[in-house]
């Protein structure tokens, strides 16, 4: 029996087309021959699969026909959850937005950088302690070796590391200057307008108000004589004609000006703002009003603003002096008699120049 004939028989058997006789014989064959039996099952399965496949194709055709009747597009419009406009803008354009934002940030940073805005603001406020350049130091060291023998007692020709200004507050050798001038100092000397230099020690300092009090400890020192200016307790008004003298360079320099604000840098109430030319080295210099009263101590200036200097108010100086412990105070008696009141500016300066000193700080 060929394969085809067997297949035909199987098919007729499965379709129930066999006569009873034939059917009985085939069933015997089937039960005797496992191979035939297997083929029957296999054929049945395979033909079923073909039929199901056909049904599936048919069903899909029907479904596709149904689908084509539906207006999918308008349904889609209706059923899509539309995100808010800002979300959809972001979804559609987020790459462009990101690029734009990066460029914007970069541009802002560049602008800030080139306009100097990113430099630290504190840089605008510089304390006026004069720092003598390294090169001058080395040259002068050489000089001092050559001139070493000429050095007279009480004089020190060594150049200072830092320089400021100070002024006498009592006739027996008490000097006031800025704390930042003598900070970290190993030794402090003062040098008067006549060129005489005295060794001093720091007896008290008040870093909060930037005030330091020095006392001359040099044996060659006797007395300053009566101090011509007094110290003002009350605040001074804006517009007051003021002046300062100090040592921005080796000679004493006058700085005339006006009191321009009753507060200092960034609203610091312990200070005045003064419009007066000051430079490094003016720190610690006295600020006087037109009558010759000390109303403050020069301590800083704003770098980007022309003529904006700052001075610690004299009331804080008085308070600092009060705070000095008695054991250190010794015989510090603050002068309260002002003899400059009715003098001209030239006379005032002539009288007080002996009481303003260059403060030289060594800290090697």
């Amino acid at each position: 029996m060929s394969d085809n004939q067997l297949l035909e028989q199987i098919e007729r058997y499965l379709n129930g087309e066999m006569s009873n006789d034939e059917r009985a014989r085939f069933e015997v064959l089937r039960s005797e021959n496992a191979d035939v039996n297997k083929k029957v099952a296999e054929h049945k399965h395979f033909v079923n699969l073909i039929k199901q496949y056909g049904e599936r194709l048919e069903l899909e055709k029907r479904l596709n026909a149904l689908h084509s009747e539906i207006d999918v597009h308008s349904l889609e419009e209706e059923l899509m959850i539309h995100p808010s406009w800002i979300v959809s803008i972001w979804r559609n354009h987020h790459s462009k937005i990101s690029v734009a934002a990066s460029i914007a940030i970069f541009a802002v940073l560049c602008t800030l950088f080139f306009t100097g805005y990113l430099n630290n603001h504190e840089m605008n406020y510089v304390k006026l302690k004069g720092e003598v350049e390294q090169i001058k130091l080395t040259t002068s060291k050489l000089n001092s070796q050559v001139n070493g023998l000429k050095r007279s007692p009480g004089r020190n020709s060594n150049p200072a590391n830092f320089r400021g200004t100070g002024f006498a507050i009592s006739s027996n050798g008490y000097i006031v200057t800025d704390y930042h001038v003598i900070k970290d100092a190993d030794s402090v000397y003062i040098q008067g307008v006549d060129g005489k230099s005295y060794r001093t020690k720091v007896i008290y300092s008040e870093p909060g108000a930037d005030i330091a009090v020095l006392q001359i400890i040099d044996p060659s020192f006797k007395s300053f004589g009566p101090i011509p200016y007094a110290f003002k307790k009350a605040d001074t008004d804006i517009g007051e004609n003021v002046f300062t003298i100090g040592y921005p360079r080796d000679a004493m320099v006058l700085g005339p000006g006006f009191l321009t604000a009753s507060t200092g840098f960034r609203g610091d109430t312990t200070q005045y703002q003064v419009s007066t030319p000051v430079d490094f080295g003016n720190s610690g210099g006295p600020l006087l009003d037109s009558k010759g009263n000390v109303i403050g101590i020069i301590n800083a200036k704003e770098t980007h603003v022309e003529g904006a200097a700052f001075a610690v108010k004299s009331s804080y100086l008085l308070k600092t002096i009060q705070d000095i412990p008695d054991s250190l105070k010794g015989s510090l008696n603050l002068n309260s008699k002002n003899v400059l009141a009715n003098l001209s500016r030239v006379q005032q300066i002539k009288k007080m120049q002996n009481y303003v000193f260059m403060v030289k700080v060594y800290n090697q």
Binding site: L49, I50, G54, E60, I81
Partner: protein, 189 residues
């Protein structure tokens, strides 16, 4: 959409009876009734309208086969069942496309329907094999097999269509075709 008066959503029992009776109108009403729900699910979860069509038809076929084989027990609303099957199928599709973000926006309640979609998947594989085997078979075998086994035409009709001199020749041809089809089908992996 449909303009027939009885085009509303068919009741669940109507659907089951309609599928068993091969009713076109019920199938149509069923199809139209739940497609928007599935479209909403798919297009709001990273899919297109075409994806929705594929998924929905697959779900209808799952339902159809289940009802036809008689093992369909309605344990929930038909709507929920269809939604759940579509949801399951779509999650699988998303995972295959690596587009699944671990989060799906749901619009209906749903049940878990794992095994049913698995069964359907196996059958799909068989059907795909059958389809490609038939393509490979070529004419006239393909048409002969389709006419005889799928369209249930008699050998006599087929004999006439193809111009065979007698039915025996046609039969021999048919068996040859069937043998080749089997061979092609089982050769595929």
């Amino acid at each position: 959409m449909s303009k027939e008066l009885n085009s509303g959503i068919p009741t669940d029992n109507e659907v089951i009876l309609g599928i068993l009776n091969n009713s076109d109108s019920v199938l149509k009403r069923l199809y139209i009734a739940y497609f928007p729900m599935v479209l909403q699910l798919i297009i709001n979860n990273n899919g297109s309208a075409d994806d929705a069509k594929d998924i929905y038809q697959e779900a209808i076929i799952v339902l159809y086969n289940k009802v036809k084989t008689g093992d369909f027990e309605l344990s929930s609303k038909l709507k929920t069942y269809i939604y759940s099957v579509c949801r399951r199928l779509w999650l699988k599709r998303l995972a295959q496309m690596n587009r699944y973000g671990g989060d799906i926006k749901d619009f209906q309640e749903y049940l878990s329907v794992d095994d049913e979609t698995e069964k359907n998947n196996e059958r799909d594989i068989q059907f795909n094999k059958m389809g490609s085997a038939l393509q490979l078979l070529g004419e006239p075998c393909k048409t002969i097999i389709e006419d005889f086994y799928i369209n249930n035409r008699s050998m006599q009709q087929i004999c006439e269509d193809f111009g065979y001199t007698n039915a025996d020749n046609a039969k021999t041809q048919k068996y040859k075709c069937l043998q080749r089809l089997k061979k092609l089908f089982f050769q595929q992996n």
